[in-house]
Amino acid sequence: MNFMTAKTTDLADKAAWLRREIFEMVIRQKKGHIPSSFSCAEILTALYYGDIVRYSRGWADDPDRDRVIISKGHAAAALYPILADIGYFPAEELARFTQPGGLLGMYADFRVPGIEGISGSLGHGIGMGAGFALAARMDKKDYRTFVVLGDGECYEGSIWESAMFAAHHKLDNLVAIVDRNALCILGQTEELLELGDLEDKWRSFGWHAVTANGHSFDSLMRALSQVGDTKGKPLAIIANTVKGKGVSFMEGRSEWHNRMPSEEQIAQARAELGILAAQTNMAG
């Protein structure tokens, strides 16, 4: 099956839109994590605009909605424009990111409609997701739970405790997507402390594991087409990505983890991201 259809072109446009929204939201307040958000822009776009995650527009509490946990809480900002776009809260909130009285904080807060559980501290999402998935089974509900993890997050032992648990309980309604951008704050994961073959590691823990190109919708949609089709096993997708993808001077550079660009760099980034003042939905 060839996923390179008109649809993936639309998805690419959507991912470009998402990067622009994220960039302006962060730059406005000079708070947040651009590279972590950019590495998972296609992943989140595929989930929400590729007909993977089931949601009801404007109704964040729909009991039958799929649950999405942004376990790499640094990238919560990447989810906000999407959640506003699907009507979970007014888009004006994006302009109040991290501001007193604003809804949206730097890390994922469960009080934000569409944020299922708190994150920011790493390593909690798989266990929390296993709880959602187990509850769905107990309640005979068919919602699925998607957990977006960082690869650096896979250093946390709790991830593997929960991975073992989810496999034992055959939680095939649970999907982990690892944003494999190969960078943590101090540098390259494989140089600092080798994570190795993550697909192999997840598989050895009893998951159905596949690898995808995390910036290619063809590849991502192919991997995501297996959601719900891994009978008796949770699904792990290792999405190979580039941290900072979309802004040349940030790509693959760990020093940009939470650094803010200069005015000159902002101009360059905007040019690369295709940002014109009129293009963002942002208020204010």
Binding site: I118, G120, M128, L134, M138, S158, F165
Partner: protein
């Protein structure tokens, strides 16, 4: 005491499929029935306390009433960050049931001791900390947890304890403490296992002509300082005794509550101190070593 707690949860769980009991590989006689009859409501988390707490958050966010059960050191310090980040932060109705608090696992020594669980757990945002001293008070505590699920930490003994509450601890639980024995000179404040030691000390003090009251602190957070101060008003001085490092423990909690209520009284706090030695020995021997045994309570209470 743990059997009565599990039996109460078991009875409630039979009529409520949303009640879940999760163990990190700790058993109990009463748990065998639960596991047999309600296999879908019993979950073995693995010897993986971090997973247990993260899992509980997802279940609680899905509308489940969750009880977590493990040896005290592993249910608290081992997964402290999980409790803070995914339970306290979202104020989820998860009850932590710890077995063998303080020096309960005496022969297992340091790794199984919790000389800090009162200080650490009461520092959790929004938690209620409960420390029943017998089966009756344990039943009252767990019944409250079932009737009104909330973020709670319940401290249990491993072994059965002599009954201190005559069939009903409900009103004591409402206040958070009970004056189990009255006195005139000195009030001894304790919780859990050491309440029993305090009552022994009271007998010995009576023989020395010292009239001691004994207060059992069922609830360590929150403490109603005004209500406690009213009961303590007639005592000249206070002695607190605990199987905890003194920093931030029960004695600290009591002193803080009284101070906040505007009450100043001489307080002698007995507890473990920095550099406490870890040796083989039973609980009584450890108490003697740490200066928290019956003799120590008597000595501290008799001193003017």
């Amino acid at each position: 005491m743990r059997d009565v707690v599990i039996d109460e949860i078991f009875a409630a769980a039979k009529n409520n499929r949303d009640i879940l009991f999760i163990s990190a590989d700790l058993g109990a006689k009463a748990l065998d029935d639960f596991r047999r009859d309600l296999p879908d409501q019993f979950i073995h988390a693995g010897i993986s306390e971090q997973n247990m707490v993260d899992l509980a958050s997802g279940l609680a966010l899905s509308g489940k009433t969750v009880f977590l059960y493990a040896m005290a050191p592993f249910l608290t310090a081992r997964c402290y960050e999980q409790i803070k980040c995914v339970i306290a932060s979202m104020n989820l109705p998860v009850t932590f049931i710890a077995v063998g608090v303080g020096l309960g696992y005496d022969h297992a020594t340091l790794t199984h001791f919790t000389p800090e669980d009162i200080a650490t757990m009461r520092a959790m945002n929004g938690i209620e900390v409960l420390s029943p001293s017998d089966a009756v008070s344990a039943r009252a505590v767990v019944d409250r947890a079932l009737a009104d699920p909330a973020f709670r930490y319940i401290r249990l003994e491993r072994q059965a304890q002599a009954e201190l509450y005559n069939g009903n601890a409900g009103s004591a639980l409402d206040r958070g403490f009970a004056e189990l024995a009255t006195g005139e000179d000195v009030a001894i404040l304790a919780c859990g296992y050491l309440t029993h030691k305090a009552l022994q000390a009271r007998q010995e003090l009576a023989e020395k002509g010292v009239s001691a009251g004994v207060i059992d602190l069922l609830r360590l957070k929150p403490i109603d300082g005004k209500s406690l101060a009213a009961v303590l008003a007639d005592y000249e001085r206070l002695v607190t005794v605990e199987e905890q490092i003194l920093d931030g423990g029960m004695g600290s909690a009591i002193a803080e509550a009284l101070l906040d209520a505007g009450i100043m009284k001489p307080i002698k706090r007995l507890g473990m101190r920095d550099g406490f030695e870890v040796v083989n020995g039973n609980r009584d021997e450890l108490h003697a070593l740490y200066g928290i045994g019956t003799d120590d309570i008597v000595a501290a209470s008799a001193a003017a």
